[in-house]
Every structure is written in structure tokens, then in C-alpha cells.
Subunit: 233 residues, 2 copies
DNA sequence: AATCGTCAGATTGTTGAACAATCGGCCGAA
DNA sequence: TTCGGCCGATTGTTCAACAATCTGACGATT
């Protein structure tokens, strides 16, 4: 047998495993390395296609190569990085096909979430994200506008109160962030979305869930088309 | 700078990263360890809550502890195991809340996929899964009936031709497989689903996508209720 | 000149051992 | 009984080494 203990013991440990997320825990070194890399990826310091050498990163961050390796495993699981066996790991790059792929996930997750509505608190969070975007636009802060837009869509998924959907969505958003640095150069890129967000949010608040879903769907289709036009072929 | 080379070089490596999945590659030792553990998890050799000791598994499989560690990282990313810092890793166990969570994901993914239909080939694959289930039922093979049911739902998601949705679905199914050994003891558990699958598939083949979606949704709700009744509180 | 093998350098994959940090449980004291 | 501290076991992390593999260049052959 490859396992050590089972049976009645499992009962006790099982609930411990469930309560894992309540635990106070210091993020491991590997986690912090992964976090640092995630940050650099999100900020565009590391561009798609860039090769990440284990030893280099280990030196730069002052950790062991094995630890870097673990961090890479995390990032690879999130698709932020691609592992080419015996060749190294590279910052992931999305091809035209991937754009459609990503938006297909978003259509499934976001539309499903909004169609089922959510508690008043969750709806309020969506509204807050809309206002955050407006404020950013008023301040002329394009960067903040972008993150506000992500908050908006994150809040929509959060309506479902489903932890797994939340992580799926945050991963998808991370992938897009990695990819959209080119597009973001267009200063007015997000500006056109403000009205959409407002309209979707209003429909949500009015309880017109199906209409909100349709609006969101149309929005996503338009957004995909725009992205495909910018990148893509 | 933490990166080594960028710019024009990135262009070349970028497409290499994209074409990664076409590459001929031997799965690494860590991957094989992960695969072995996945198998044992799916077969119920390792029950939820069981503790997996690094050194033990390293010995049993004849690999290094570091390698086992990498395998664990893979499985943790798939939620099949849970890592308790400084305490070890345990086979994941789903609580009542998780059941709803998982089904929420399935509703989002599956219903979205079926509502958009798919190519005739993909629809045929769904039909094939239905027939596979009928054959298993006729043969009285409960195990085959279970896997046929998973094929059915996998085929539905495959309608969308979205790689990311496919992996999401397969991960969710893996989680459920891990969890449903108790339920599967009831020999007739899947039997009731046969008619549902047939009806859903028929609607799909007839192009009545909305109806197929509604049927599927109802099916998932019923399935969740059943599971919650068996486990749960 | 173009193609093909070969070779050297570099990087990854994997191992083994070591050590600190942390955890769980046992034992003793109040 | 309960609290506090100690002990053994396991994990987290590092380091060093080696085999396997890839890349690129050099040179030989056709």
C-alpha cells in the first residue's frame, strides 16, 4: 500500500482539509516567488515569449532553484507560463485561437452567473465597480479604468458565490492581462465599455436578469471581435 | 533585470510556446508520479482525508522526495489534494458546500456549451456516449455506466470546442470521481440517468438547443439534490 | 553551396543529503 | 482536568551533483 493510514483516522483529517482555507498561514517562499512573477507578468515587465531561466531567477530573487521550480509549477497550472520539456519555461503567449477560447470561457461563466442574479450585497459590489470605472474615467486614469473593468467582471462572477468560478475567472483575467498590453496602449480602449457596464448593471439592479445576460453576452462578443481585430489575423 | 532576453527574440520563442502542444515529449517523472496518484485517487485506493507522506510515496514509487513534491503541486492545482502548510498534503474531501460549488460550475459550463450546439461530429460524439451508457446498462456493468456518464457530459462540453472549458470540465469530473465512491456503492445510482441522457441528446440532435439546455439544467439540479441528500447534512 | 553529422556549452530534470521550522502528541506539574 | 513544555516526525528549503537534452556552431561530405 502506498498510503500510510486510513479509515477512522481519515474522518478527522478530512474536516481539517476542508477547513484549510480558514487556517492562518504564512505563504511559503515558493508562493511568494510565484506572486512576484505574477506581478511582473501583470505589469508587463515580462513579455509573452520571454524565456525564464531557472538559475537566473533563483539568483535574482535569492532563493533556491528548486523553489523557483515549484513557483513555475504554480504559474504553469495557471497557464501564465508554458513549460517546454528540456527547453525551459516561457511566458505564455495567446494566439488568435486562444482569444476565442478565453472569451468562450468568459461567456459561459459570466453569463451564467448574471442570469442567476445574486444577493443585494453582491449586486452592490457590481455597482461599486461601475462607479469605480466612472471615477477612473473622470480622473483620466487609464490604468485604473482597466482594473475597474476587471473588478466589474469579477463582481459579476462573484454573484454566483461559487469559489471555483471565482478562481476560474481570476485565472482567465490574469491570462488576458498578460496578453493585452499591446491593446492597452490605445488610451481609449476601455472608455467605450463604460456605458455597457452601466447598462448591464442597471438591468441587474432592476432584476431583469435575462436582459442583463443578453447585454453581457453582446458585450463579450463585441469585445472579442475588437481584440481579434487588434491582435490576430 | 530578471529576464534574460526579449525583443525580437521573443517573437521566435513566442510561437514555440504556442505550438507547445504539438511537440513530441516524454512525460517527466513528476508527471508520471502525478498520473499514478491520479489513478489511485480515481480508483478509490486513496480515500478523501488520507494523508500522503512525501517520503513514503517517494520510497514506494522509487523517486526522489523533490519529485514527489512537484507531483503534489500538480495535483494541488487540480484540487485533488489539499496542502496544509507544515502538516502535509491530504486527499481532498468535499463538504456539502463544495457539492453546490461543483454543480454551479457544471451548470455554467455544460449548459453554456449545449446551448450553442456544435458540429455534427461533436453531436455524434454525444450520441456515442449515450449508446455507450445503454450498452453498459444492458451488460449490467455499473462501473462502465459511470464512466459512460462522464463521457456524456464531457462530450457535451466538447461541443464548444474550447480547450479551456475541456480542462475545467475534466478537473471537475476528477473531483467528483474522487468524491462519489460512497454514492457509487448504490448500484442503481446512474441507471436513472440513462433516460435523461437520451432525451437531452435527442433534443440536441433535433437542434432544439434551448430545450436541451433546459433539460440538462433540470438534470443537474436533480443530480445535485440527490448528491446532497446522500452526503451532506 | 547546401546538407549533414559531430561536438561543446548551457540548461533542464532528477537525485540525495542536509538543516531549520513547524506540528502533533506525550508527559508532567499545577 | 488543564496547562505548559519537551520530543519525535514531517515538511520547507537549500545546496551540490550528475545525466539527459537542447542549441548553435563548426567542419566534413556530397
Amino acid at each position: 500500500m502506498t498510503t500510510s493510514n486510513a479509515g477512522t483516522r481519515a474522518q478527522a483529517t478530512a474536516q481539517a482539509a476542508s477547513a484549510a482555507r480558514l487556517r492562518v498561514t504564512v505563504p511559503s517562499v515558493a508562493d511568494r516567488v510565484a506572486a512576484e512573477l505574477r506581478l511582473q507578468l501583470a505589469e508587463g515587465v515580462l513579455l509573452p515569449g520571454t524565456r525564464l531561466t531557472e538559475s537566473t531567477i533563483a539568483e535574482d530573487l535569492g532563493v533556491s532553484r528548486n523553489t523557483v521550480r515549484e513557483a513555475f509549477a504554480e504559474l504553469a497550472a495557471e497557464r501564465l507560463v508554458v513549460r517546454l520539456p528540456n527547453r525551459g519555461i516561457f511566458v505564455a503567449s495567446l494566439g488568435p485561437g486562444d482569444i476565442h477560447d478565453v472569451y468562450t470561457v468568459r461567456r459561459a461563466v459570466e453569463v451564467s452567473a448574471i442570469r442567476n442574479g445574486g444577493t443585494p450585497e453582491r449586486v452592490a459590489a457590481v455597482r461599486a465597480a461601475v462607479e469605480e470605472g466612472k471615477a477612473a474615467a473622470a480622473a483620466g486614469d487609464e490604468e485604473a479604468l482597466g482594473t475597474a473593468n476587471q473588478h466589474f467582471h469579477g463582481a459579476i462572477v462573484a454573484l454566483a458565490e461559487c469559489r471555483r468560478l471565482d478562481t476560474i475567472m481570476s485565472q482567465v483575467l490574469a491570462e488576458m492581462r498578460l496578453f493585452f498590453h499591446k491593446a492597452t496602449l490605445d488610451a481609449h480602449f476601455y472608455r467605450g465599455y463604460l456605458d455597457d457596464n452601466e447598462e448591464i448593471c442597471a438591468a441587474l439592479e432592476a432584476g431583469e436578469l435575462d436582459r442583463a445576460g443578453d447585454l453581457l453576452l453582446a458585450y463579450l462578443d463585441r469585445s472579442e471581435a475588437k481584440q481579434s481585430a487588434v491582435h490576430g489575423e
